[in-house]
Point group: C2
Chain length 433, copies 2
């Protein structure tokens, strides 16, 4: 029996693209690659923006500056898209899928924006659209959700899916830095962009929540908004309070079933109990923690970014797409549960950590406690720290409705004795971990 042959075209020769080409060329791994692909793999073209730049390790005869033509080439069985962004990446991918080629992409923006439509297009054309590297970089979480856990009802997914913010919060926790210093350090080390908005305001994490919920878990809510709160308002005093209370602050992305047909999708900072597996995810690492109905808690941890880890995830997809082609099949999208409804975040219950700066004068605490009581928010613990005329009140609530907590803070903000609301951060329960 002759070994089947599968041909690849790659768009993009940055860190990820070059690492992928090196992995494909590695002589010592050829037996494993043929085993994994059940085929020999051949790289037939690499599209780059600028042909004059030297790309170490990439055969220059393979280079082209016309990605659209590469996507359209009949002899490209699998197109690997590593350019990013919505357009023209979407057009390239659609071009390849329409002629029945499979596509592997690391493009989180595109997959969050129109992944469901592209997956449908792939299915209609008997092709695969694989996107393991779009969430949590080198961690093979999407294939696990779609294969090993296909029979499992997933009740909650909580992910640390943005390395930049996890690095910043880790620095604030372990080194006692404030937010601005930790951000500068992250920028100096190349973990954060000059304009860090996409990371620190959680746009990146929200895109990954979108992909996890709609593509990996199979919900149909891709049009609905995702609650998004970033980390730029997290202060050293909050990190310190969390530590004293037995927590660390992490930015998490959450997809959670609520009741029979409700689904909450959100990303926000949270106090995580120090003995929860997510609390041990340090620096720029990523992790995805899952609560399955029967499997119980499961966590995956690994590098969320970087050329080689991302290329490793892309290669896993390439081998999977190649195996499918050899067998004349493709992965079929999940049946979407279209009874699921997005739950308003106000209707969700949680423990909250609240921090309020007040004037240090008699009767203030009674006034503040009265406001909590009127809105049915019950207090689990309170800590007061004074600074001359000022005092900071830090509260852990009992489980409370988010809309009640919001109303409480609104009314507190109107009190003359309250200078400012410093923090309102959700607290994650132990959750069976």
């Amino acid at each position: 029996m002759t070994t089947p042959h599968v041909r690849l075209g790659v768009i993009g020769a940055g860190f990820v693209g070059r690492a992928l080409v090196q992995m494909l060329d590695d002589d010592s791994r050829q037996v494993a690659l043929v085993d994994g692909a059940t085929a020999t793999l051949e790289l037939v073209g690499v599209a780059v923006r600028d042909l004059t730049t030297v790309r170490e390790g990439v055969d220059s005869s393979l280079l082209t500056d016309d990605p659209l033509s590469l996507a359209a080439r009949d002899d490209v069985d699998i197109l690997v898209e590593l350019a990013g962004g919505i357009e023209p990446a979407r057009t390239w991918i659609e071009t390849a899928l329409r002629r029945g080629a499979s596509v592997v992409t690391a493009n989180k923006t595109l997959m969050a924006d129109c992944g469901t439509e592209l997956a449908q297009l792939a299915h209609e054309n008997g092709a695969d659209l694989l996107y393991e590297a779009s969430v949590a970089g080198g961690i093979p979480i999407i294939r696990a959700l779609r294969t090993s856990l296909a029979g499992e009802k997933i009740n909650r997914v909580m992910g640390i899916v943005n390395g930049t913010t996890n690095f910043i919060l880790s620095q604030m926790t372990s080194e006692g830095r404030d937010y601005a210093d930790a951000l500068k350090e992250a920028q100096a080390l190349g973990y954060a962009e000059a304009d860090p908005t996409a990371d620190v305001e959680a746009f990146d994490a929200a895109a990954k929540v979108q992909i996890l919920s709609s593509l990996a878990i199979g919900t149909a809510l891709h049009g609905e908004p995702i609650l998004r709160e970033g980390i730029s308002k997290v202060r050293s005093v909050d990190v310190d309070y969390a530590r004293r209370a037995g927590y660390v602050i992490k930015l998490i992305g959450v997809v959670e079933r609520v009741g029979e047909h409700g689904l909450s999708r959100r990303t926000h900072p949270a106090l995580i109990p120090i003995d929860h597996p997510l609390a041990a995810v340090h620096g720029a690492m990523n992790a995805v923690f899952i609560e399955g109905d029967r499997s119980g808690p499961l966590m995956w941890l690994g590098q969320g970014a970087g050329g080689e880890p991302t290329a490793s995830a892309v290669l896993g997809d390439v081998l999977h797409a190649a195996r499918n082609r050899v067998n004349g099949r493709h992965d079929v999208p999940f049946t979407v549960d279209d009874r699921l409804l997005s739950v308003d975040s106000g209707d969700l219950s949680s423990v909250f950590y609240l921090s309020i700066d007040v004037r240090d004068e008699p009767g203030v605490l009674a006034q503040v406690a009265g406001v909590f009581g009127r809105h049915n928010v019950s207090i689990q613990s309170m800590e007061q720290s004074g600074f001359g005329q000022e005092a900071r009140l830090s509260f852990l609530t009992h489980v409370a409705l988010t809309r009640d907590v919001t109303a409480t803070l609104h009314e507190l903000d109107l009190l003359v004795s309250v200078d400012s609301i410093g923090a309102c951060i959700r607290v994650i329960d132990g959750g069976g971990a």
Copy 2:
């Protein structure tokens, strides 16, 4: 197009078998199961030891007390073996494989003993032999190694793959119990057997190391012994020393490449740096930590035992086997790298923690240090604690050859001033985590 139909036979209706039957029967999951299997699944028989026992949730008309006949039945497409042990499980599995049925098993003893031969038999008959639940219970690690990471060169696998010993060591660490007390607690909670030998002397962990190395990673060393050291000699003073030095003690199973063609397979207690992800694996949880050449560090964490988590892993395998049958294919075993040679543990280098009880008299430390020096074992740090006539010397070495450390301890044991060697435990480096 009609949906294909796949028929299952299950041997064993204990915790795992009953949880599996419940998952297959769960009305709310039928759409997901058909999606995952690309087929409807039908349970056609359940073999039990004693037909008179009532099995809640299992249709009594499906029961049989003749597992061999169930394995031989033409209308069983996938046989699920949950009985355990070598024989007669091996005969049942061979019977099913020989007629081309696929087999899903949770049987670690059998897979460690003859998994390679059974995998070959499956391949020759165009069938699958899947065994996700045999290592780390509910954690889908084997499929990840065989699919997503098929293109990745795995340099080291370190697993906490025995929940009993991890519970005992966690109790010793967090509650300050000694080994005997922690073992009693584990027995009272049902985490440890009345005869705990298989767990505490690491026979169970060694079987999982065997499966990980030969079946999941594809080495051919199934005849060669695995270095095995248990936890029964770990003392409270070792746990305390580890904590002061920034480590926790865990029983780990290791599969490690050494040089170009060397492979080390072993299970033993180890000091793990407190900020290593494995250090945060508490209680009866399991975890597998992998160092891939390109992926970097990756870790999976979850429940290593229990009916429902194990059944969840079995169900993942059932869906995979069903998909393969629908597509007329089966998973092909890895090409085994038969150049790999087992490395003698004496040739391995490591940092060691050593604890020696000595007479507290002048000159002892110089004598002891002299022995270290003669065997080229260099000392990183030393701590002396005195108790009247006695003193305990605790050392962290620099990286040293295991055979040199063994020779050092041999010679120390002969000194009149040395009462006993208390501990010799390997220390794991940070390892890029």
